[in-house]
Symmetry: C2
Subunit: 419 residues, 2 copies
C-alpha cells in the first residue's frame, strides 16, 4: 500500500468555523486519493491521539462534509492539553508515534491557536528526534486573533461580526428607551490578553453619536476617572452610552477588573464578569440605569451569522494544509496574507511553525485611538473586510440543520494508555 493516512485533530477553544477547516481538509484529501488514504480524526484533540480514540471519516458523504462546514463547535471534540517539552519527557511523543505507526499515519494536522502551534511544532520534530517520519502541519484557529504571522485567524471574523452586529442592535434598543429607562449598556466580549474582538465593534462608529461610544481594551489600563467622565459625556451628548468591554481589561496595577474582591453572601469570590463590575461602578458613581450582557460562548459559536470571508478562509487553510502535505512540507502552518484592503484580496501562504508557536499578537498601538476608548481609521480598514458577507447555515423548521456526524470509531490496535 503506497497510500498513507492523515490524522486531523482540533485543539483549544472551538469556533463558529473550525469545522469548515475540517471540511476543507477532508475534501482536499479526497482529491489526492492517490497519495492519501483516509483522514482519521482524533476525538478530543491530541488526547484522542494519545488514547487511540479515532474516527474514520471515510464514511462521510460529500453532502455531510458540506454540512459539517456550516456547523459550529468542534465536531470531533477538542481539548485543552499542553504536551511537555520533548527534552523533559518523551513518553507522550513515543505514544504518538506508536499510534501513528499503528494506523499508517504520516501526516498530522493540528488545528488550533498559539499553544497548539507549539504542540504541532514539537510533534514536527519527532522525525529527527525519535526516528519516525511524519509531516506535522499546524492549521490556525482562534477567535482571539492573536496568532503571529497571519493577517487574521479563522474564527475571529465570525466572532467579531456577531458582537459587532449585537452592539449595533442592542444600541438601537437602548436609544429607543433611554429617555425613561436604561442609559448605559455594557457588552462584555472575549479577549483576555488582546482586545481584537472588542476593537472590531468600532467599525460601526461613523460619527460621535454612533455606538460603541467606549471600547475598553486589555491593551490600555482602565482609569476609573476618565472612564466615568466619558460615560457621563456620552449620555449628555447622545442620550445614551454603549460600552464594549474586553473581559481582560485591567486596572493601573495590571489587576483584572473582574477580580476586585467581589464576594457573595458566603464570602466566596465571585465568578468573572467584568460587565457587572462596570455596571455597579456606573450605578454608584453616576446613578445612571445600566444593563449589561455577557454573550460568552454565544459569540464564538454563532455560526448562524458567520462572516463569509471568515468561512472561506477557514476552508482555505484546511485545503492549503493538505496541499502543503502533498508537497512534502513539515513544521509549517498555512496563514492568511492580505494583498489589499479595498477591494479586499487575500491568499494563503506558509510560515514556519517555530515562528508562530507561543507568540501572542496584541492590538498595535496605531489601531487604538489616542483616548484609548476607540479605534483608528487604520484599524477600521483592517477589520472591515474580515466581517464581510453572510454565510448562513441551512435551516429546518426554524432551527439550523447542523451536522450530526455518524462515523465509525477506528478499531484500537494498541494497549490502552492513560492520558
Amino acid at each position: 500500500m503506497t497510500q498513507t493516512n492523515i490524522l486531523y485533530a482540533q485543539s483549544g477553544g472551538v469556533t463558529a468555523v473550525i469545522n469548515a477547516t475540517a471540511a476543507g481538509v477532508l475534501a482536499a484529501a479526497r482529491e489526492h486519493s492517490d497519495e492519501f488514504g483516509t483522514v482519521l480524526a482524533a476525538h478530543n484533540g491530541i488526547l484522542g491521539v494519545l488514547r487511540e480514540d479515532l474516527y474514520d471519516t471515510a464514511s462521510l458523504t460529500d453532502a455531510e462534509i458540506e454540512r459539517l462546514s456550516r456547523t459550529p463547535g468542534g465536531a470531533f471534540g477538542s481539548c485543552r492539553f499542553k504536551l511537555k517539552d520533548i527534552d523533559e519527557d518523551e513518553t507522550h511523543y513515543r505514544r504518538l508515534i506508536d499510534v501513528m505507526a499503528a494506523h499508517n499515519i504520516r501526516v498530522f494536522f493540528y488545528n488550533g491557536g498559539g499553544d497548539s502551534a507549539d504542540t504541532a511544532h514539537k510533534v514536527s520534530q519527532i522525525g529527527d528526534r525519535l526516528g519516525y517520519r511524519v509531516q506535522c502541519i499546524g492549521i490556525p484557529k482562534t477567535i482571539d486573533n492573536d496568532l503571529a504571522l497571519t493577517d487574521t485567524c479563522p474564527g475571529f471574523g465570525s466572532a467579531a461580526k456577531f458582537v459587532t452586529v449585537a452592539t449595533l442592535e442592542a444600541s438601537l434598543d437602548v436609544i429607543a428607551m433611554a429617555d425613561t429607562s436604561t442609559k448605559v449598556f455594557i457588552l462584555e466580549v472575549m479577549g483576555r490578553h488582546a482586545g481584537w474582538i472588542a476593537a472590531a465593534t468600532g467599525v460601526i462608529r461613523n460619527t460621535q453619536a454612533d455606538p460603541p461610544h467606549i471600547i475598553l481594551l486589555p491593551e490600555r489600563a482602565f482609569s476609573r476617572e476618565s472612564f466615568l467622565a466619558a460615560v457621563k459625556q456620552s449620555v449628555a451628548d447622545h442620550g445614551f452610552c454603549t460600552v464594549v468591554a474586553s473581559e481582560g481589561v485591567c486596572d493601573e496595577h495590571g489587576r483584572f477588573l473582574s477580580d476586585t474582591g467581589r464576594r457573595d453572601a458566603f464570602g466566596h469570590a465571585q465568578l468573572g464578569g467584568v460587565a457587572p463590575v462596570i455596571a455597579d461602578l456606573i450605578n454608584q458613581e453616576l446613578n445612571l440605569k445600566c444593563h449589561w450582557a455577557v454573550p460568552d460562548y454565544l459569540q464564538r459559536s454563532a455560526r448562524h451569522l458567520a462572516s463569509a470571508v471568515d468561512f472561506e478562509q477557514a476552508l482555505a487553510v484546511g485545503r492549503a494544509a493538505v496541499e502543503m502535505a502533498h508537497a512534502g512540507e513539515n513544521a509549517v502552518m498555512p496563514v492568511i496574507e492580505r494583498l489589499a484592503d479595498a477591494p479586499y484580496r487575500w491568499r494563503t501562504t506558509s510560515v514556519p511553525l517555530a515562528e508562530v508557536a507561543n507568540r501572542e499578537r496584541t492590538l498595535p498601538d496605531e489601531f487604538i485611538a489616542s483616548d484609548g476608548f476607540g479605534i483608528t481609521a487604520l484599524a477600521k480598514r483592517y477589520f472591515q473586510p474580515l466581517l464581510a458577507g453572510e454565510s448562513y447555515p441551512p435551516y429546518r423548521e426554524g432551527i439550523p440543520d447542523y451536522a450530526r456526524l455518524e462515523m465509525a470509531n477506528v478499531e484500537k490496535r494498541l494497549p490502552s494508555y492513560d492520558a
Copy 2:
C-alpha cells in the same frame, strides 16, 4: 379636509420586529389615503404625545418603510410610562385631546404590551368621558408572550428563535470541550414572571442527550436539591449539561434567585444575573467547571435572526389595526389566532382592549414537564411554528443596513407641557 390623521406610538420594551408593525401601519394607512391623511409618530411613546413631540412620516419613501420593517429597536422611541386612572386625574387625558385636536388626529394606535393595552383602553374611553371622538386601537408587542387572548405576541417568536439557536450553538461548543473544560453552561434569558422564552428552547430537545437538559421557569419554584441532582445526572449521562434559566426564577419562598443577598466588596447589593448565582452554586456544590451567558438586550434586538413568522405577524397586526380603524372600531386590539399547528395556519382577529389590559398569561401547566425542568410535546407543537423561517435584514459591508429615518418634526401648535 375630510381626511384625518393617525397617531402611532411605541411603548415599553422594544423588540426585533416592532418596527415591522410600524411599517405595516404606515403602508396600510397609505392605501387608505381617501380617509387617512398622514401618520404622525410620537417620539418616545405616550410621552411624545403629551409633549407634542411628533414626527411626520409622510416624507418616508416606500423603500424606507420596507427598510424600517427590517430594523430592530423602536425607530420612533419608546417609553415606560403609565397614565393615571382617568377618575384619579384627568390632566394628561385633556392634554392628549388637545394634542390630537391640534393635529387633526382621530385614530390613535398604541403599540405595546399589557400595560400599554391598559393605557390604550383608558384613551379609548375619552370620547365618551371627555367628549373628543377618537378611535383608540392597541397593537400587541412583547417578547414576553404574556398577553392574554392572543396565540402569540409579535416580538416573542424572534426572541425565542435567537435564544433557541444560541442554546444549540453554545451546546455544540460545550460538548466539544467538556472532556477537559467546561461541563455546565447556563444561559440566562428574559422572563421575569413568565417562562415563555426559556421554555421555547425546549424545541431542540429530541432525545435525553440533547440540550437544553434543564429549563428553569418562574412558574416552578427552584429546588436546590433536585436541580443539583439533575445537573449531576446530565453530566454523568451526557458529559455536559446545558441549563436555560429564566431571569425570574424564584426559590420556594418566592424570592428571586438573583437576589440572594450577594454583595460586592463595598457591601452594595449586586446587580441581577441569575446565571452567575447558579454557576456559583454548581461550583461550590458539585465542583464542576461552569460558563454562563446573559444575552440581555441581545435577545430582544436580534433582528439579524428574526423568525419569518414573527416578522409576518408583526406586519400583519400593524395592517390589521389600520383596517380596524378604517372599519370604525374603537377599544380593540388585533391579535393572532392559530388555526392549525402543522402545517401552521393563522389569521388576525380582534379582541376588546378591556379584556387584554393588565392580564398576564403564564405558561400553562400542561406545557411543563412533570419534573419541572423541560417542556411537553404539546408545548413543542405550540412553539415550533413560531420560530419558523428566517427573515434576514439587508447588509452592507458586512453590517446590517438598518434604517436611519430622516423625518420632519411636526411644528408645535400648543404651549409646552411638562410630562
